[in-house]
């Protein structure tokens, strides 16, 4: 199986690569269109600022490539946010895969949210053998509200989307590669059964 992690210069992708290797798979880091198109599974990571990350995607043409992919694609953290319609962070348009707009947490909670939280209302094969209210690790200041494509919720002042799914596209706001055994199970589900 060919797993490609899209490498567009955004964030800590080493951890994702190692997590995939701990699950017994190999992953390639690439920004090459042919390499990405021919992958069986694609991981779209991202840590950093939304508008500058979108700029990098546009410069490399990945902004038009990613929405056309037909194999399972998993966006993680900022990767998931960039797959939405837009983000309030840097007021940027997104890839428009998920029909939801990413917004900033309201005052009243500590921002960024950094730490462990729980996921609930789990739907989708991504969460096979994952219990309701399992703990996952999150680091973020912006969030996708609950929408028709929400497949997991979490609560931080308000309830919002911890994960999204549309057709072959999946996104998690949390970091499965940093969410201990639960995270590895979720990543394993993506690489295995979905």
């Amino acid at each position: 199986m060919k797993i490609v992690i899209i490498n567009y210069g955004a964030g800590n992708i080493q951890s994702i690569k190692f997590a995939i290797e701990r699950l017994g798979y190999k992953a390639v880091l690439s920004h090459d269109a042919d390499e990405i198109k021919t992958a069986d599974k694609v991981i779209f990571p991202g840590v950093g600022e939304a508008s500058s990350a979108m700029k990098k995607l546009r410069e490399s043409g990945l902004d038009s490539l990613i929405p056309q992919l037909t194999q399972p694609v998993l966006g993680i953290c900022l990767g998931m946010q960039l797959m939405c319609n837009s983000s309030e962070e840097g007021h940027t348009k997104g890839l428009g895969i998920f029909d939801v707009d990413v917004v900033k947490f309201s005052p009243g909670v500590k921002v960024p949210q950094i730490g462990w939280n729980q996921i609930a209302k789990l739907k989708s094969d991504l969460f096979e053998n994952v219990e309701e209210n399992s703990h996952i690790y999150l680091v973020h200041s912006f969030y996708a509200p609950i929408c028709g494509e929400t497949i997991a919720e979490t609560e931080y002042g308000i309830n919002y989307s911890a994960a999204l799914k549309k057709d072959n596209f999946y996104g998690t706001q949390f970091h499965p590669e940093k969410s201990s055994d639960v995270g590895e199970r979720i990543l394993g589900n993506f690489l295995g059964s979905v």
Binding site: N12, V47, K110, V111, S180
Partner: protein, 242 residues
């Protein structure tokens, strides 16, 4: 974990260092036992330090499936870039931020608040909390609460506060100062220094309003088990991942 020349060490009040094992092995054990996050602080002062630390980060990232923070001698964008690329989730800066506060803004705009932790070591001098450098040996002009506020305004994502008066004493965390920090700041505050018993952890969450608690020697020398500690925290109404 305090790291010196690639080994985990532990001392009292930053002196009398004892060997506490291989950092990667300890990291694996702690993550299995249920630690929520690991912090590696390199206190070695050798020339090859940067490379040793980058190698250690890489080896930890390979094995460990929970977040970890790395600090010790970080003073530039390039330093941070290398550590993040080797797999660190966050970096912690201390002296370099006190000497050049603009570094916080620069790192935050390049890497984002979420991965920039500012560590503050402080102790009380005539009733006033004063920021110290070099493992608590050198006092500065800065006062803890003012500096913490400035650190937040410059964009840091978290503050790791170590009370040098409490560190190594096993007599409990500096809950008074912690509660004030937590009340005045809108970013998470990690309590460090003074853990000796499980009730100290309960107190620092309840009285100190800490967002997280850090400890080293009580875990290194197996005086407190992480599993038991988290169970007790939960029984005392503190939400934890088990």
């Amino acid at each position: 974990m305090d790291i010196k020349d690639g080994r985990t060490v532990k001392g009292v009040n930053f002196v009398d260092l004892r060997d506490a094992g291989d950092p990667v092995e300890l990291a694996e054990i702690y993550s299995r036992e249920g630690a929520d996050e690991l912090v590696f602080l390199d206190i070695s002062a050798t020339e090859q330090k940067r490379k040793t630390l980058a190698d250690l980060v890489y080896r930890v990232a390979e094995k460990v499936n929970i977040p970890f923070t790395v600090g010790g001698g970080i003073s530039s964008i390039e330093d941070v870039d290398v550590l993040l690329h080797n797999g660190a989730d966050k970096v912690s800066i201390n002296s370099s931020a006190v000497k050049n506060p603009q570094l916080i803004n620069d790192l935050v705009s390049k890497f984002g608040s979420q991965c920039i932790v500012v560590a503050i070591d402080a102790k009380q001098i005539e009733g006033e909390w004063i920021v110290h450098l070099v493992g608590g040996k050198v006092p500065t002009e800065r006062k803890l609460f003012e500096w913490a506020k400035e650190v937040e305004e410059r964009g840091a994502g978290e503050i790791l506060f170590t009370s040098m008066d409490h560190d190594g004493t096993k007599d409990g965390f500096a809950n008074g100062a912690l509660a004030r920090l937590s009340g005045e700041l809108n970013i998470p505050v990690i309590a460090s220094g003074g853990a000796g018993t499980t009730s100290h952890f309960i107190d620092t969450f309840k009285e100190g309003k800490a967002d997280a608690a850090l400890a080293a020697s009580v875990f290194h020398f197996k005086e407190i088990g992480i599993g038991n500690l988290k169970q007790e925290l939960r029984e005392n109404g503190i939400p934890v991942r088990i």
